[in-house]
């Protein structure tokens, strides 16, 4: 077991998990929706970037990434207004929202399969080469991956903490009625939250395409992981999700190096159970479940 390798792997995975899980947590925190299409939207991000690069427009990776983000944001806003908001008027809408987003996940998957076929697509790493850290070679791509992920997370945190719109997101997540009372348009905040969430998960889908390739059903594994991270960190807490992402990523790196890759998820679930037994709202949870 090589300590440096574990540190590198844990940091890289942790940074990316952070991006995916914070998106899921943001939507749960503001609109109380557990978005089962989060993984499919991760995949969608990969396909959008692939299409922009090889499907016609022929953009460079950097340009495709930058163009994808506003597209993903609009998709999130449209989904909120089109399929989530109408549910909210009825009783039991949260269960309905789970079913609808689950359905949406399959619609996206099958849509992608129809459009692009079942075969995996690849996007080559956007930076070649590597550097040696403590005798282990680390690809520049992985370093860039961490850099971009950290940047996304920092931007999100700054947005939430510093801007008027960001404060309105926080306000809605803390008290819906009070937010309406001070004149915040809560529907707009729900749209904003889902828009940002799709940007985060889609961006992760693009950044990871060189490692995991892109396939229509490839989003379930990241979704499941994000789900565990969010529950572990505390539903609705983006900081909790951040912390949990790194804890679980390092755990994964250790388990993969010492026992084998098949044990990563079981190890996650055991830790999750222990945490939930002693602390039912997760590490930094806002609500009791």
């Amino acid at each position: 077991m090589n300590i440096v390798e574990i540190l590198i792997s844990g940091t890289t995975q942790g940074a990316v998990y952070c991006v995916i899980a914070m998106g899921l947590s943001l939507v749960y925190g503001t609109s109380r929706i557990l978005n089962f299409a989060h993984g499919a939207l991760y995949t969608l991000g990969g396909y959008i970037a692939w299409f922009l690069m090889y499907g016609g427009p022929g953009l460079s990776f950097g340009l495709a990434f930058v163009v994808s983000l506003p597209l993903l944001f609009c998709i999130g806003v449209a989904l909120e207004a089109g399929i989530i908001r109408p549910l909210r008027r009825h009783a039991n809408w949260q269960i309905n929202a789970i079913m609808v987003t689950l359905g949406l996940a399959f619609v996206i998957e099958n849509g992608l399969q129809l459009l692009f076929g079942p075969k995996t697509k690849t996007i080559p790493a956007f930076i070649e080469g590597g550097v040696s850290i403590g005798g282990t070679t680390v690809s520049l791509y992985k370093i860039a991956l961490v850099g971009i992920s950290v940047l996304l997370v920092v931007l999100l945190e700054l947005f939430l903490a510093r801007t008027r719109a960001g404060k309105s997101v926080q306000a809605v997540s803390q008290d819906l009625q009070a937010a309406a009372q001070v004149g915040i348009n809560v529907n707009r905040v729900f749209g904003l939250a889902l828009g940002l969430s799709v940007v985060l998960t889609g961006a992760a889908g693009i950044l990871l395409a060189p490692v995991f390739q892109i396939s229509p059903t490839g989003g379930w594994s990241p979704f499941l992981k994000a789900f565990v991270i969010v529950v572990f960190g505390g539903l609705g807490s983006t900081r909790g999700a951040m912390l949990a992402a790194f804890i679980l990523a390092f755990l994964e790196a250790i388990v993969v190096a010492s026992v084998g890759p098949g044990w990563a998820m079981p190890a996650w679930l055991i830790v999750l159970m222990i945490v939930l037994m002693t602390r039912p709202k997760g590490l930094l949870g806002v609500w009791e479940n």
């Binding site: 309105s168 306000a171 803390q174 309406a180 001070v182 915040i184």
Partner: protein, 224 residues
């Protein structure tokens, strides 16, 4: 300024307000009295766009606002202060106050309004970086009222300001609200403690089982 004409409001299947009508003129301080569970809070929430009105009309500053959402109403200066304070508990006092100024009309002059709120409640300036979950009941009520003022209300609607306050604080709170009224702000409030209102209000209504009647404090005394 506010004309409510025979509105009906239900909570789910429960019909709470029956043909409620009332009127508030500019510059008045009007109270709605009534015991707990008779629809006082429902009435205020419905007026402020937080609950849907089944039928009847509400006119405010000359236009029909019956179907408007709270976002639009706050923008027009119809501002609600909740009985249970409804602070953002994991935000600081300052953040709560600033969110009060969320509407674009109030946002433009938020620094000036903040100075006014701090002048009214120096205690809030001292505690501006505290999380609201750590405030005492009296301080929380100051933030609730301060946040309402940050919205630059034309008509301030206050739901039971005395709730959960110590007796010496309730008198002070009522005095503060009366001062706001004397300074030109129109106020509609509900209370169940009629004695507190003596000498402060212009007119009052009594609400009983969702039905409203023009009344005065002594009439309410007899009801109890």
């Amino acid at each position: 300024m506010l004309e409510v004409d025979r509105i009906n409001v239900s909570y789910g299947d429960f019909h709470v307000l029956h043909d409620v009508s009332l009127k508030v003129e500019k510059g008045e301080m009007v109270a709605v009295l009534g015991a707990n569970g008779h629809g006082k809070s429902t009435l205020l929430k419905a007026l402020c766009g937080l609950l849907p009105i089944q039928n009847g009309t509400v006119r405010y500053e000359g236009s029909d606002i019956t179907r408007l959402a709270s976002t639009e109403l706050v923008q027009r200066g119809l501002v609600y202060v909740a009985e249970d304070r409804r602070l953002f508990r994991d935000m600081t006092v300052l953040d709560n106050l600033m969110l009060g100024a969320f509407n674009t009309r109030a946002w433009k002059c938020r620094e000036k309004t903040l100075d006014q709120v701090f002048a009214l409640y120096p205690r809030l300036e001292e505690r501006r970086h505290q999380l609201c979950r750590h405030l005492s009941g009296g301080e929380a009520q100051m933030v609730a009222l301060g946040r309402g003022l940050m919205s630059k209300p034309h008509l301030l609607v206050i739901d039971e300001p005395s709730l959960g306050l110590a007796p010496n604080l309730t008198a002070q709170m009522m005095e503060t609200i009366h001062d706001l009224n004397r300074a030109g702000m129109t106020i509609l409030l509900v209370e169940q403690n009629a004695a507190l209102l003596t000498g402060h209000i212009s007119r009052s209504y009594v609400i009983e089982e969702g039905v409203i009647a023009e009344g005065d404090l002594s009439a309410f005394g007899e009801l109890q």
